[in-house]
Symmetry: D2
Subunit: 147 residues, 4 copies
Amino acid sequence: MSEPRRIDAARATAAFEHALAEHSQEFGKFFLAKLYGFDITFPEKECEVAFEALDFMFNPQGTLHGGVIATALDISMGHLLRRAAGPGTTLEMKVQFLSAIRGGKVRCRGRLMRLGKSVAFLSSEAFGADGQVAAFATSTWKLLGSP
Amino acid sequence: MSEPRRIDAARATAAFEHALAEHSQEFGKFFLAKLYGFDITFPEKECEVAFEALDFMFNPQGTLHGGVIATALDISMGHLLRRAAGPGTTLEMKVQFLSAIRGGKVRCRGRLMRLGKSVAFLSSEAFGADGQVAAFATSTWKLLGSP
Amino acid sequence: MSEPRRIDAARATAAFEHALAEHSQEFGKFFLAKLYGFDITFPEKECEVAFEALDFMFNPQGTLHGGVIATALDISMGHLLRRAAGPGTTLEMKVQFLSAIRGGKVRCRGRLMRLGKSVAFLSSEAFGADGQVAAFATSTWKLLGSP
Amino acid sequence: MSEPRRIDAARATAAFEHALAEHSQEFGKFFLAKLYGFDITFPEKECEVAFEALDFMFNPQGTLHGGVIATALDISMGHLLRRAAGPGTTLEMKVQFLSAIRGGKVRCRGRLMRLGKSVAFLSSEAFGADGQVAAFATSTWKLLGSP
């Protein structure tokens, strides 16, 4: 029987304890965003979600899990929308996975495609450490009210 | 200044420690799946991913984060595909969010729509505690080899 | 130089003249639906769009064009929604193409996944002459008012 | 009883007869592309599909039918891919409809997001006569062989 393949427990524990200490369940700093180490900024009318791909976020094949990428892309769009037009709910999101991420810095850049009165369309690109697009998301949002 | 809104630290810590102790980076038991408490089974030629929606998985609006739902849906399809045809990579996934989940048991049921020689199409439904469909995913996968 | 590959001009002309004579720009009988020979019915709370795949609807590879399939799927969902909740506009639609259609009868079956107050989610399956699912669509709609 | 609302029969007939005379079932000039008056060019490593939105292409609400837009977007991506890497089949396509088109010139611009060995990812924007993006598509393709 083979040994279990383990993640780096020290780094995962540091991420968890940081999230536990620093989070508050509001935009920009809720627990999940803190756990994944998401650094959320708003450069050039876009929203950037930057983080380090650590092995506790990996799939069994040893690359960044699509669900984590989807989470980061979703947040880059949701936080941008909230800043532009107040909170919204995701009606749907599609993510295309162009290439696998095996570690290093990941940056997602969300941008508004169209902001209507009751609906908004957004997209976001995830860039790997090599600067190439690793994933691309488009989404449709229902606006919930004013900013 | 308002108090930070905190998650239930004890439950999150229990989830984290459980994941740290029990995970192995392979199908069915990798860290992320353990952290979210995913119970992965294969009833009736489908794959079910069942878990309890805990507040550390929530968005700032107090409902289960779309990224967590996407992660569970993705796993329900990826694990089913692996069982049916060996490992694959997600080319794309779309998730529609039909209603918000505010807690309780969540069950995702992945199923094969079509299994080709090099490509597979899958879908998955996420059911909330009330038995209603809360989210629906479709995805396209590239097959990597034999089971 | 090779001969141009031509479609069956008589059948296309018959389809065109039928559409010109019979259409009215309203639900169920607008020009495009008539041109493609769409027979639109409402069995079992669903909407069925049935038609014969003729070669004037083909792509250069000799199979039913994805755009025609998308048109039929869209109509099966839009007409069902209109019947259930009044007219709506498609916010987005995704179509997966599971297998090519080389002729014969095609049937699209649209169904409601969820009808909300301002937004609806629908899906539709396109069946080829062999009864197999050839394409699968999901869509999100904005409701425009009452039926 | 109200009069049937009719399309401009002369313009539709001209489009149909032009398509019948000029088509050949190959890339760039197949019947459907000719019927819709698609002018297909390849500026700046992209593929542009330009056409006039005529009323025979409209939905019952009096705007360009989403199925026609999907057809044009699909062709802008498929023809670009064929030029870059040989013929492919659409595995899936998602279209978001940002605003309605009520007439005038429409231009779709397809571009390659990533060209892999067996799979390609493309996107395309449809611009209305006002130069605004009216629809946005992303798609995933399986490559069939060499150019």
